[in-house]
């Protein structure tokens, strides 16, 4: 580890903490449905959309209707993308003349982008036409992110409102977040990326005659416009197979820093928005503190492991940290930091190959996802996931003192706790169940590239990433098979919507409750004790559930690595 590396990591966190409140205020304005300066330009677009679609944004919805409209919108988007991908071969905007995708790959990819996962079973440059990238994928980068933020708003309203039947209007939330947050930032961001060397053109392949006289084909395309929202919306699906490791997606150390910042930007801001919504910004800072503690712990482990490198390589006379799968312009610190950021959030973009990380360095990204991606988390999904853990935490605290727990002015009762457990139980059931299945079936065992425990890690990582809607991979796994495309597709769908629906049910129930003012017997949910409890609950739940699987994968792998036993 170097001083410069730590300067980068701590500077990164400091920048985000400075941006938390401004971003939070902006999001709060939209949460409240108030005007922003951007309404002058985009207000007519917003109103036009409502008019054409027959939407009255002032009509509020109960949780069931909110959920129905959300699900139907997402299903329509998914069907649309499936059609675009299947028909790619006959559609325009296809300079490479690529064929349509197979049914199982199109199924997997359509779900993947709808659920904000952006798992790439396909290799970007060899599979997707420019039109597919734009119509099929870029729109989801916006709308799956906007859906996540809308859902977070709905849950915030559940906590904030008193004796109300409604939790907002889904269409108003999605449209406003898209038009007034995601689109304007993406425009500025894409320009910055283009200036830094990210291509933005409708052209296809450029032929290069290298200095040594060989031929090299370089693929160009509308990369910057997709890259911007890919990061900002914690999507992570790259234009290219190598994702943000590809120099055309992430050409410099500065673009790399901006990519990491943009993954976390909205997630940090939403914690402040939550605090403000429930009337006490300190509630938001408490949640953010717990998240940042978990985040820094993860970064420390991965950075230390990657900087120390592999004893296997040292034995061969290779010096320094683990550079297999890493780019020189980023080096160890910026690669380790990126890997923890992208898996803490449900982004899944990668600037280095996690599969080639040291065993424990790669354990942290895996464990981050197994915790439910609540350490900052995906836009919207992170905070609503974390609030589910907060419900469990006040419940545990309530059990200890023998009182009905309350959180930000709402009594937390049996219904909330049951629904929260239901949502959280999706993770282990799906991840461990499908990993176990794939570890015994021939179709599953055909996947891993690496042998021994590392091969098991590849399978475990894939299902963890899918259920967590992350999308990063231990990419050695050959996932573009009917078996993996199908199962991972189902895992992504369940991992997204089987958490969202109970969460919305909680929001609806909470909104209907009356306000319970804080009393002398209330457990304070702002101080250090509460932050410690939150960290503890997240770690204990995740640890107890997944430690055995980690022992079979990365931990066994680590023991093999330090003893020099190859597999």
């Amino acid at each position: 580890m170097t001083l410069q590396g730590w300067f980068l990591i701590l500077g990164f966190v400091a920048l985000l903490l400075a941006l938390t409140k401004p971003v939070g205020i902006w999001l709060f304005t939209l949460y409240e449905g108030r005007r922003t300066p951007l309404h002058v330009v985009l207000g007519p677009v917003e109103r036009g959309f409502y008019k054409l679609a027959g939407i009255d944004p002032t009509v509020e919805q109960g949780w069931r209707r909110y959920a129905l409209h959300m699900l139907l919108f997402n299903a329509t988007l998914m069907a649309f993308t499936y059609a675009v991908l299947r028909l790619q071969g006959v559609l325009p905007g296809n300079p490479q003349g690529l064929a349509g995708l197979s049914p199982n790959l199109a199924f997997n990819t359509a779900i993947s982008f709808t659920t904000n996962t952006n798992w790439q079973s396909y290799g970007g440059e060899s599979t997707m036409s420019n039109l597919s990238q734009m119509l099929g994928l870029t729109i989801h980068n916006f709308l799956s992110a906007a859906t996540g933020i809308a859902l977070a708003f709905a849950l915030f309203r559940g906590f904030a409102r008193r004796e109300s039947k409604a939790i907002g209007n889904f269409w108003a939330d999605v449209t406003r977040v898209t038009l007034y947050v995601l689109l304007p930032i993406s425009i500025v961001y894409a320009l910055f990326l283009i200036a830094s060397g990210v291509p933005q053109t409708m052209a296809g392949v450029v032929e290069v005659q290298t200095l040594e006289g060989a031929k090299q084909s370089l693929l160009l395309g509308p990369v910057a416009s997709q890259e911007a929202i890919k990061m900002l919306g914690t999507n992570g699906g790259g234009f290219f197979n190598a994702n943000s490791a590809h120099p055309f997606e992430n050409p410099t150390a500065l673009t790399n820093l901006m990519q990491m910042l943009s993954i976390f930007l909205i997630g940090f801001g939403l914690t402040w928005t939550f605090g403000k919504a429930v009337g006490n910004p300190r509630q938001g800072w408490a949640i953010l503190s717990a998240m940042v503690i978990l985040f820094l712990a993860g970064v420390t482990i991965t950075y230390a492991q990657e900087a120390a490198g592999s004893p296997v390589l040292h034995h061969l006379g290779v010096t320094g940290g683990n550079m297999e799968g890493k780019e020189v312009r980023f080096g160890i610190a910026a690669s380790a930091l990126f890997s923890v950021v992208t898996t803490a959030a449900s982004c899944g973009a990668v600037n280095s190959m996690h599969d080639s990380f040291t065993a424990l360095g790669g354990l942290v990204p895996l464990f981050n996802m197994q915790l439910g991606e609540v350490v900052i988390g995906g836009v919207g999904a992170g905070i609503y996931g974390f609030l589910l853990f907060a419900i469990l935490a006040v419940f545990v605290a309530g059990l200890m003192v023998g009182r009905t727990p309350e959180y930000v002015g709402k009594k937390i009762e049996a219904r909330e706790v049951k629904l929260a457990v239901l949502a959280i139980a999706v993770l282990p059931l799906m991840i461990l169940g499908l990993t176990a299945l794939s570890s015994v079936l021939a179709q599953g065992l055909a996947g891993p590239l690496n042998r021994g425990p590392h091969g098991f890690s590849e399978i475990l990582y894939a299902f963890t990433s899918a259920v967590g809607n992350n999308g990063s991979a231990f990419a050695g796994l050959t996932a573009n098979t009917p078996y993996y495309n199908g199962l991972l597709g189902v895992a992504m769908w369940v991992g997204r919507f089987f958490i969202i629906v109970p969460m919305l049910a909680i929001a609806g129930g909470l909104a209907a409750k009356k306000y319970t003012p804080e009393s002398a017997g209330s457990f304070p949910t702002t101080g250090g004790l509460w932050i410690g409890l939150l960290v503890g609950i997240v770690l204990i739940l995740g640890g107890l559930t997944f430690l055995p699987s980690l022992a079979l994968g990365p931990i066994a792998d680590h023991l093999a690595m330090i003893s020099g036993k190859l597999s």
Binding site: G54, A195, G197, P247
Partner: protein, 199 residues
């Protein structure tokens, strides 16, 4: 529920169409227009042309250098090496036999070239993209004596090229762009740009 469903269907379909037009067509096409107007070089891949106008590479993306007269690029898992249409890392785990089997001949080759002491990690490891345009200064300096010998120029002059081309950003690691370095090498007076003649 049936009525609810059908009332939700119209906004779902219409909003899908409207957002597709705005986000899938207007936004990327507008960014393309603006990008092409303001930053035409970068928007088209930061291409590098030689004196005759032939595209010889991109300042951003790496290309394969395997000849002894050039600074050689890192091993690459993109296709058969630096394939611009198949970016990829090796994805080999830290204790994979296949990784060790790949490293051993590369290390032996460096040793045969006279690299003593520890081998810089990036010189023998494959990058994440397979298209890494850079080397660490250490990995470049480890190659200067070979290049000086082949080209018949003093080692110090080759080393100075590396030092001059090193980009030390506080946000990442110090690195040297290999294409720029090798073009500078070809431009050195007293050393032939044509590999065929030197070989």
């Amino acid at each position: 529920m049936g009525k609810d469903f059908s009332s939700a269907l119209r906004p779902a379909i219409v909003m899908t169409i409207l957002f597709t037009v705005l986000l899938g067509l207007v936004y990327p096409l507008a960014m393309t227009g603006i990008g092409q107007a303001i930053f035409p070089s970068q928007a088209n891949g930061s291409l590098v042309r030689d004196a005759r106008g032939t595209v010889v590479g991109s300042t951003v993306v790496g290309q394969a250098f395997t000849a002894d007269r050039y600074f050689q690029t890192r091993p690459s898992a993109a296709g058969k090496g630096y394939d611009g249409l198949a970016s990829s890392g090796s994805n080999l785990g830290p204790a994979a036999r296949a990784l060790v089997d790949r490293l051993k001949p590369d290390i032996a080759r460096r040793r045969a070239e006279g690299v003593s002491g520890p081998i810089p990690a990036d010189l023998v490891t494959a990058s994440g993209s397979g298209l890494d345009p850079d080397l660490s200064p250490a990995a470049a300096l480890a190659q200067t004596s070979r290049i000086a010998r082949v080209r018949g120029v003093p080692d110090e002059r080759v080393r100075k090229l590396v030092v001059d081309a090193t980009d030390a950003s506080i946000l990442g690691e110090p690195h040297v762009n290999v294409l720029a370095l090798n073009r500078a090498l070809d431009a050195l007076p007293g050393t032939g740009p044509s590999g065929a003649r030197l070989r």
